[in-house]
Amino acid sequence: MLLALFSCELEEEVLQKNNYRENIKIRNSTFDALLNEQHFVNAISKLSKSKPAQSKTVMEAEYGFTILPDQVKVLEHKGKTFYTFQIKREVQNPDYFENLVIDTDSIGQTDAYLFKYLPTEPLAPSEEHDSFHFKGAVHITPITYNIAIAEKELHCVTATVMMCDQSWSGSGSTTPHVATQYCNNPNHLTEVTTTTCDMTAGGGSMGAGAGGWFGANQGSQGSDPGGGHAGAGNGSGTAPGSNTNPPVLTAPVFDLDQITKCKTISKQMAKFPGLKQSLIDLAATTSDSHENGIFIDKSATAETPDPVQTVPVGSGGTIKINLNPPQKYVMLAHTHDASGPKGEGTFSIFSSDDMATISNLIQKGKIDTDNFVFYVFTADGTRYAMTINCASCLEAFCYPCGENLAIGTVLDMSRMLQISDLIEKIYNKTDGIHTQSNPEDDIKTFLKFIEKANLGISLFEVDATFTNFEKLEYDSKRSKVIKTPCSN
């Protein structure tokens, strides 16, 4: 009898969960498209205290972020609408990404929160589902304005983060990933409830609370959270005090191109239609007895008649880059010629000096790191492109580097020796990259170099037509290079 009653309760709970999930609507949008929706315009106007059409809202200025407008997730549930945007700061911290969540109800009451997601494992894309896997912690900060110190109070925010374990094809993975509009089966939607408590003030969080933690395979399948509770299961944070507000509903938004960087290349190709032919022409010069190079700087627009400029060749047959150009570089391409420094051939991939020069340019603020693409074409018939994922990582590589040491400076000689050792390990030694090494082995060695030197870059192989790009990654467990075609 008791068992029967318990079963009924469980069944009712399952029905409630399904009912809750069925009532959630997820759709994708853009900031510009949302400006045509009065409900959103009202919400953002209340928060930003300025007209939404202005280039930057007061909210962004006060909290020091910029909304990325291209991708917005809109979640609707029981008359409430939750808009989730990815935001960006002037100095990006590679350890986390942030979202702005705007929560508005049918009578126009609006709140906004900053969600800081701290991955404990590298973010992995699941591109077919336009999603990604996330495992880590989340910290929520309510957006508030001009609260006097005396008015600060402990404020707890509970959020429900939507995940999905739906397979998108017969052979697709069912590993939980962040919910998107494609997760259309409520049986596969899972909620992770998390709570953060903070002393709220005008400048943001005072750090009194604790962030919640959740992972792709740790999501608690909570019941209808309409009543507002302090979190459940593995997703809960520590929540002193009670919270009577209903949870904020969201699904993380993260531009996958920050992982894949494929779009960085394709966008640049699309912006400069003549670039492809310039790269093809440059790649045809690898039989010269010296290196050749071209570049585009930030002054070039899509309308610039000839945005591609030539890099001068210096002594020893290597090209010499202006390290103090008037504009930041957005593209650099160069060849490794057949002769090489000793007339014995070439490196089939980027050299350590190539990396050091890019590092030096970042230190000088002369690279548009978000949009930068760097190419090398070699006499071995290889063609590679690289993009920057972590500017501060690559910036740290060159040491001491093109800097005027002040009198009395103390150098970190140990660091200098270690960088030198790592370069020697990767290049020149018998098992490393050298003029006679196998290009396929060189890819593997260079990918190890990226990891060991923490260069923070993505590497791509380019085909002869400069139409197809494959992202190259090293699977250390299987000691194998994984080549993933860029789909765009």
Partner: protein
């Protein structure tokens, strides 16, 4: 059972619990000491492994990459190249078990270190120094511990590595001078002579970056003492 008996039983149970807890504590302490000792264990590897990008290290060991095969020995000593009354002098010495405690995992390595100088009237009472690598790096107060780096020989009679040419006029923006790739090969038939070659590494450079060597780049060195 009387109240006294109950108290005694309670006391016995508490005492027993304390004993069990103590045993658990000792067990944990033993496990901790064992693990700690294990994690501190030193493992000697042949120096070739230090430069092997495919060599996988274990976080449980402190590695010591040692010159087990004495590849360093033929290089140690003073080598000279004479051109008129000027002599290029290269001195190599061995330092053992240099520690790098900030790395993960920590390691030690044997290093063949070196410094060069150019003198006039070498070995004469009127010997005059033209340049030397035994100085500070640029305007810093850090001296060069060695002017050759990553040059540990990993095969008989052959050494490759990095050398810094700091003999030219200092460009303050480039405190390490011109970085070169050094290859020194000892003639096995006459181990007192060696071919010395310095080349510019392949790669892109800055427009104002120095790339011309002042030190000799292609010479035959003669060993004058051990």
């Amino acid at each position: 059972m009387t109240l006294k008996g109950q108290k005694l039983l309670k006391h016995l149970v508490q005492t027993k619990n304390i004993h069990i807890m103590k045993k658990i504590l000792y067990l944990f302490l033993l496990m901790f000491i064992t693990t700690f000792s294990y994690s501190q264990q030193e493992k000697i590897e042949e120096i070739r492994q230090y430069y092997n990008p495919n060599f996988n290290t274990s976080p449980f060991y402190i590695y010591y990459y040692k010159d087990i095969n004495n590849y360093f020995t033929p290089f140690i000593g003073t080598w000279i190249y004479q051109n008129g009354n000027q002599t290029f002098v290269m001195l190599f010495w061995k330092e053992t078990k240099i520690g790098y405690p900030d790395t993960n995992p920590k390691y030690y390595v044997d290093e063949l270190r070196g410094h060069y100088k150019l003198v006039q009237n070498y070995g004469q009472p009127n010997e005059q120094l033209i340049y030397t690598s035994q100085k500070n790096v640029g305007n810093s107060i850090t001296s060069w511990p060695t002017i050759v780096m990553s040059n540990q020989p990993t095969e008989p009679y052959k050494m490759t590595g990095t050398i810094f040419d700091v003999a030219g006029v200092l460009n303050p923006s480039y405190p390490t001078g011109v970085r070169g790739e050094l290859e020194m090969i000892i003639n096995p038939a006459n181990p007192n002579t060696a071919q010395w070659e310095v080349t510019l590494p392949m790669g892109m450079r800055g427009l104002d970056q120095p790339s011309t060597f002042t030190i000799p780049t292609n010479i035959t060195l003669t060993k004058v003492n051990q």
